[in-house]
Symmetry: C2
Subunit: 456 residues, 2 copies
């Protein structure tokens, strides 16, 4: 296999493109099939539409299936529209069922049904089954191409079967043992098999208590289990019957996807983290957040408007608006990050929530004390005209604000998670804005109450 | 193997603890060794010190090594201090080299040297070698327990060797082919081996162009490559010689670690994302950020102080401070999240930086236009006393601020990344504060310039 790296990638790509220009099919095939499918995808994505149509001619449907299943959905939709229908059907018939289901799930109903009707009956039934599982569950990410054996088989028998089925199966490194009712009764790794003697029975070398997930198990839960136990694959059951497996490479994608979600949550940039979309798409995706947050900003403006008289009396109070807002926002975001990350890693669950909230409240109190003391020392130097009273008002307000802001940052995402509302509501900027409003109300209320003691 | 889940975990744990209380070694061993090492660790972490010392008596050092290597470093340090020295040495001698190196790297020099001097000479030399690699590189996370074969071996030969070495090796699913100079010349998977006939030569079934990383390759780069090509393991070379392999379970940990770093970066909660540390530790870790950011808040206060006269003339301007600050902060954080995530996933590199910045600038301009138009409509309704001029000042300021804030959010982490400064400097709150200051200067400068046109 040719290894493409930064040095030779360009030269090699140009060589391949030249074979397309020259309409030299045999040279093209020789060069192209020396590459890893991941690199073949990069070539496909970097050529023109005309060059692609040459590739479709030079590559057989069953070969193209290998490439097609690794493409992003947007590219899949584009390229399939460029293919002749028979070729397209052949491609789909040669793909693993889980990849077909993932692709079809993204198509409009009518197109989806068209492809399903043209597929081999047996294949389409398997795919229809997979399409039924909810998004982001074990059922939706599992593959049905695994090797299952019977507990009464011998090791030698199974080795022979693996030799035959290896090219088809997604992984051969775990073998799943099922009984006559298709119930999952055991598991053994290829490692276990290899160190056993050929005439041993599978039931004597298998592990009987096998960890599995259900088809409706959340994909994040599956990822946590596989990371915790360092599994390369985990079996998926429905009513105890083995129906598929989830492999570690699928889980890597899940981890990326979930991290993406969490990142969006912290930064209110959900759906626009992709560095490759256009400025217009990015603006379109971000603008609802920014506008909604701007209206919340107008609410904050209203709060300050309410205290206009206080501000007019002691204009210097305005200078501390950013300080109160920034500090409230920052501690809130820190607490939010802890909770979002803890929920993702599974370190925060029902049993530990109370402990975590107590921890965050304690942290908020301590941060508040430290900041208040610092301000009591610094503010009289910077704003001597305000006297000690100004420093006291700012310090005490910040103390109360930080204690509460930390709790808001921790509690809101927990409630959201519990109520299963769209977690974007608990995004960093939202929590920041809530904390801003709270902080400013505290600050101006205290200042208004003590207005007579402030030098005006 | 007994499968612990939420239902039976408690009962089973109590049963095991009871055997410890009863000093019943055989019952303990029977129950305990039915568990997966990951669950054994949970038992160990949940019992008292006295119960642990019983466990040390009932479990042999070579058995305890299996548990010890999976522990967190803080627990490793605690438990090893409870062990008798000979037992501790035996534990270490029975651990994989990479886990020993990871553990020793966390100990003080003298303790580390003590253990190294007591270890088997051959083992300690391997570990010393591993300790030389920089943190977060392929060398630091690789294992040296892999199976290497010669290209002139036959498939049957190698199968026989795997049978013998399988219990020792970290993975047997990839076999690495080396020549007499230990140079890496090929790779084959166990799958390839199994489908080949026993008398074939390895050189006829191996892939000759094998993807490898160097010992000094950044672990994040290794993770990206493994995710991209769906590898279960990747070989590590030094001057072309095979010195180790990185396996996919190590990479899962790397991905978590890097995500943790990126999360800390966005939220300025670096090092305190762990939900299990005490309130005091959390406050200690977060307070430097909060205090530093508070001082930056005082700088922002200074900016507003500079415009005190303008504020005194038109007090309603104060109400828009939060709006300007929030919007500047939010767009900056969105752009930051895109860049931090892009750098982590490898979708943002030198070749695409220019494109990304142009994209972000375009996005910022569009967001600015949308927000400005919205404000031009809304503000005259909410604040009729300010007239159209107030709306114009707020709208234009926000337009300029958003355009620039998006760029700041995108450029600062790129510069930081390029200069290899501590990336925490580019954290969300820092960028928010920079953008706050910038936004307020723009807003008050425009307002001051147009002060005569504002109703006072």
């Amino acid at each position: 296999m040719v290894k493409l790296d930064q040095q030779n990638r360009k030269t090699y790509t140009n060589q391949i493109i030249q074979t397309l220009v020259d309409q030299n099919m045999s040279d093209f095939r020789e060069l192209f099939f020396e590459l890893h499918p991941t690199d073949q995808i990069e070539i496909l994505n970097s050529v023109t539409k005309k060059q692609r149509s040459a590739i479709y001619k030079y590559v057989k449907p069953e070969e193209f299936a290998e490439i097609f299943q690794g493409l992003e959905v947007t590219k899949q939709k584009l390229y399939i529209s460029e293919l002749q229908q028979n070729y397209a059907i052949d491609v789909i018939n040669n793909m693993p069922y889980d990849d077909v289901a993932d692709f079809l799930a993204e198509l409009p109903e009518t197109t989806k049904d068209l492809y399903l009707s043209k597929m081999n009956k047996e294949d389409s039934e398997e795919v229809i089954q997979l399409l039924k599982y909810d998004d982001q569950t074990a059922g939706a990410i599992m593959t049905t191409e695994y090797i299952s054996v019977s507990s009464t088989d011998t090791v030698g028998n199974v080795m022979e079967r693996i030799r035959l089925e290896a090219p088809e199966a997604e992984t051969i490194y775990y073998l799943y043992v099922i009984d006559e009712q298709l119930k999952l009764v055991g598991v053994l790794s290829l490692r276990d098999l290899i160190v056993s003697s050929l005439d041993q029975k599978i039931e004597d070398v298998m592990l009987t208590r096998v960890r599995s997930v259900e088809t409706h198990t959340d994909q994040e839960e599956v990822a946590r289990m596989m990371k915790k136990y360092d599994f390369l694959a985990v079996p998926v059951t429905a009513q105890g019957k083995l129906v598929g497996i989830v492999t570690v490479d699928d889980i890597m994608d899940v981890v990326d996807e979930e991290t993406e979600e969490d990142f969006g949550e912290i930064s209110a940039a959900r759906g626009s983290l992709d560095a490759n979309i256009s400025a217009f798409s990015a603006a379109k995706k971000r603008s609802p957040w920014i506008i909604m947050l701007m209206f919340l900003g107008l609410v904050t403006a209203g709060v300050i408007g309410e205290f206009e008289e206080t501000l007019e009396a002691v204009i210097i109070l305005a200078a501390f608006i950013p300080l109160i807002m920034d500090s409230a926002g920052n501690t809130g975001t820190q607490a939010l990050a802890v909770v979002v990350r803890g929920l993702a890693l599974g370190t925060v669950d029902r049993s530990s929530v109370g402990k975590l909230l107590k921890r965050e409240f304690g942290t908020g109190l301590m941060l508040g004390v430290i900041c208040a003391i610092t301000l009591l020392i610094v503010v009289p130097f910077l704003y001597p005209e305000g006297g000690i009273m100004l420093a006291a008002i700012v310090g005490v307000s910040l103390f109360i604000t930080l204690s509460l802001a930390t709790m808001v940052g921790a509690i809101v995402p927990l409630i959201i998670n519990k109520l299963k509302i769209d977690p974007a509501v608990a995004s960093g900027p939202f929590i920041t804005t809530i904390n801003d409003i709270m902080g400013l109300i505290i600050f101006f209320s205290i200042a208004t109450a003590l207005l007579d003691y402030l030098p005006q």
